[in-house]
Amino acid sequence: MSALTQTLHVPPKAKIRTEGLVGVVLRHAVLIALVIFCLAPIVWLLITAFKPYGELFSSPPTLFPIHPTLVNFAAGWSVGGGRGIRDSLIVATSSTVLCLILGFPAAYALARRFAAHGQLSFTILSLRMLPPIVPVIGFYLMFQKLGLYDSYIGLIIAYTFMNLPLVIWLLAEFIRQIPRSYEDAARIDGAPWFRMFCDILLPLSAPGIMTAAILSMMFAWNEFLFSLVLTGDNVITLPKALADFFLFQEPNWGQLGAIGIVAMGPLLILCYLMQRYLIRSFTAELGGR
């Protein structure tokens, strides 16, 4: 890593003191400005979550809450945040599990029985490229007919449909990197196919399964259009709860911020933890080719 940056950007030795140092400082300054721009709206929301009601609409706004409070979290939970988190958890978890159950065997078949990047996996992936507004009309009409409108099962099906192509594709790519010789060895060791699957393949695929699960969970957690269209008052996922609360009531920014933080916080932390691994595997793999 450092070798690469050195060859790229460290100028000849004579200049290193003047231009090099200024350049480095300048780069970091620009990057810090960018980070501030990236985080500002979110951080502002975070600050707002701790403001009491009276302080929300003061103009000009206070930078830090004068009387910080946790009351927004409790209130936000009871006005729909708790319900939203519960429903989102049910739907996202179920669809993720379904995606993995359907997706892992399919991914294995794609990885082992078909040439890399074959026609079939391309077709599967292109399903994902559909703008959700296209299938959502069909889903709506179909769910009305089947009585799945405003049901957990309906939304779980929709999210599984949305995420399954990606899960299959990610897992197939992962399994392709597992050397075949482990499976051959297990067969020679006398393991029947299913036993090989459980003893060898599943444990070796664990990191790939984790990645696919987290991504699928996240997409379902953040998704809005499907839940807006396909559910009514019975199932209210978190994004829908937030949108309803925001649009149809006097916006209480403190409570909105509180729900938003509770909803996004765990996910963000998980992503930060995973990112290192994701980015690294991403760059290493591509560099290795």
Binding site: Y182, D184, A185, R195
Partner: protein, 387 residues
């Protein structure tokens, strides 16, 4: 333990790839057998059919005379050591070794007993609780061998088991594997692309090329009596020189030779070989038998092949020098004792005594005449006379 017969074995991948073409081999009970060939020669396909990872498209595999080609690896009771990734990375060495027994639902006591026994045999007792990532390549390969042996297999297959290790370790493991195989008497088949590995470890071996079996025999037989130019060139410490010689008749009945466009003196046997209407032939000689002569050195007074050229490159091998001589458009290597080093571009003549010369039919590449003497015969004779 079993004797193994491959009977008219064929393997097709798809309609166009004939990976293994009508291979017939018999391997004796307890024999250490080698399958040698360059990559793509079909040797690995043969091995995979032997252990039951692939089904033969045609032909039979017999263990002690019983056809097994429809049986699973477990029913055949075979074991295999892979080139790389031989161990399950998420298991410890102990779990790896015991896996075949656990799959066979052996009792806990017998598993512990067998694992301890085989670990002692391979001297890996201290490694049993480590995972693959905590072991060196050599240690991993030992554990893999232990996992193979723990089930007392009828047949032990080794797929390039030491090819990726470093040179010193490879040499040591070669010897260890050979001793181990002797001690256990398990019928074993090793696949390798390295002639030295094949020569040093096995009792007998088969040379394959493009899916076709070329020759089966002991290392000595294959080295001294290669059936064709391919085997001659592929097998041995140094590749055999195979040169195309042309004949041109001049001055009546005397036959003059040409090598790479340059005039060459032919030994009488080659002249006789040319006697008919033949215009070209291939001669072969191992580098250790080719003598490079300086311009002022006389040609030895025996029958042989002579041609003149210049040194293309010299390679220092420590106690010897490998000299590549360019003659016209052909090159020839000779291994000379490092008494007086040759220089690049130095004019030289090469001399090959008639009795170490091989002759190959230029159309079929089949050996027409074997050398009657190995270059090492003098050494042998010296030892015999010393004794």
């Amino acid at each position: 333990m079993a004797s193994i017969t491959l009977d008219h074995l064929n393997k097709w991948f798809g309609p166009s790839v004939h990976a293994v073409q009508d291979v017939n081999i018999h391997i004796e009970d307890g024999e250490f057998f080698g399958l040698l060939g360059p990559s793509g020669s079909g040797k690995t396909s043969v091995l995979r059919m032997l252990v039951g990872l692939e089904r033969p498209t045609e032909g039979q595999i017999l263990f002690d005379g019983v056809p097994v080609q429809d049986k699973t690896p477990q029913e055949r009771n075979v074991a295999m050591v892979f080139e790389q990734n031989a161990l399950y990375p998420h298991m410890t060495a102990r779990q790896n070794i015991s896996y075949p027994l656990r799959v066979r639902k052996a009792s806990r006591e017998s598993i512990a007993h067998k694992v301890a026994e085989v670990a002692a045999l391979l001297n890996i007792g201290a490694l049993l609780d480590r995972r693959a990532s905590q072991m060196s390549g050599g240690q991993q390969q030992r554990v893999a061998i232990a996992r193979a042996l723990v089930r007392d297999p009828n047949l032990l297959c080794l797929d390039e088991p030491i090819a990726h290790l470093d040179t010193l370790l490879r040499a040591r493991l070669r010897g260890e594997l050979k001793r181990l195989q002797r001690a256990l008497g398990t019928t074993s088949v090793i696949v390798t692309h390295d002639p030295i590995e094949a020569m040093t470890m096995t009792d007998r071996l088969a040379v394959m090329r493009d899916g076709v079996l070329q020759q089966v025999g002991s290392a000595d037989e294959i080295h001294n009596r290669p059936v064709n130019a391919f085997v001659a060139q592929f097998f041995g410490l140094h590749s055999m020189n195979v040169l195309t010689v042309e004949s041109c008749v001049d001055q009546g009945s005397h036959i003059a030779g040409r090598l790479g466009g340059e005039p060459a003196r032919l030994p009488q046997t080659v002249e006789r070989f040319f006697g008919g209407s033949r215009r070209t032939a291939s001669i072969g000689a191992r580098p250790s038998g080719v003598i490079a002569l300086r311009a002022n050195e006389p040609i030895p007074p025996v029958d042989g092949f002579t041609a003149a050229g210049h040194v293309y490159v010299t390679e220092q091998l420590g106690d010897a020098q490998l000299v590549t001589v360019q003659i016209g458009d052909q090159s020839i290597q000779c291994l000379t004792p490092d008494l007086y080093p040759f220089e690049i571009d130095e004019p030289v003549r090469i001399f090959i005594p008639d009795d170490i010369l091989f002759l190959f039919d230029n159309d079929t590449h089949v050996t027409s005449r074997f050398a009657s003497r190995s270059p090492l015969d003098e050494v042998k004779a010296a030892r015999v006379s010393a004794a």
